[in-house]
Amino acid sequence: MHEVSIVEGLISLVEKQKKLHQFSRVLEIKVACGTYNCVSEETLNFCFQTVSKGTYMEKAVIKIHRLPENWSCLSCKSDFVREDKSNDPVCIKCGSTQVVPRLNSEIYLDNLEVE
């Protein structure tokens, strides 16, 4: 269950924010992560509800949005954001098929909705 490790990381980041800002409740936690990161919103919320019970975070809902898919072209050496969803991606600058994904495995706490 890697979601538990992620929830632990999220909670410690929210606690840091509480020390910096005055708030009594967290309503929403927005998480940004790479396209290929195998994090499921449903599982993350399930873990979070269990761990945050009885705290100022317990009403919070986690929402995930995916970061753009970055690719590099081996021919013209440019980096680009892939928009087409075909099986054979091409470079948007030179049209080469010699392209590789820069898979982003990072997970970020993007922003918090608090009151």
């Binding site: 269950m1 992620i6 980041l13 590789v100 009151e115």
Partner: protein, 218 residues
Amino acid sequence: MEIKVMNKVLEANDAWAQENRALLKKGSVLMVNLIGSPGSGKTALLEATLDRLKGKFRPGVIEGDIATTKDAERIQKKNVPVCQINTGTACHLDANLVNSAIQQISADTKFDIIFVENIGNLVCPAEFDIGERAKIAVLSVTEGDDKIEKYPLLFSEAKALVITKMTLHPYTNFNLDQAEKTFRKLNPTAPIYRVDSLKGDGIGPWMEFLSTLREEIK
């Protein structure tokens, strides 16, 4: 009220990973992280590798499993220092756990190479930096060549791909050309080794790769 944060969620893990890198650098130790499915032949590859390292490098092993010390017992038979981590429920090793394991096995022994055999899983171990020099993807021919495409993160991050159980290849429909083609789409540079750990076929080039990695950190 909205608060913009944009902090890495796994920053605690990443901090431990950096700590591990510093610790290994201090002792000039190469750490490689073997990742593959359960039953892909990670332990067998390790056994074949350890046999051939004798007299050249001083190896140590960190074994990660949900339960049991079965793998550590196999490694112990090779007279190599080993530390077994049982994660209980977690599907991956994190940098903090690996730090305690490094501390434990390094207490009274010096190493040139530490092998970490991660928990059998193609998903989660790829997401956690443990401070290794290289992630190695281990894929057996019995699993099928489609696994590369299905679990792209590991294969894109790997510094090498080891295809195992090559003796069984004629009895499977694993397409080696297709596997290499798919791998190259994700990872244009990492070398690919075809091995049979039990027979020792193809182990030579893999051993040379490890020596090169070890040279790089000296």
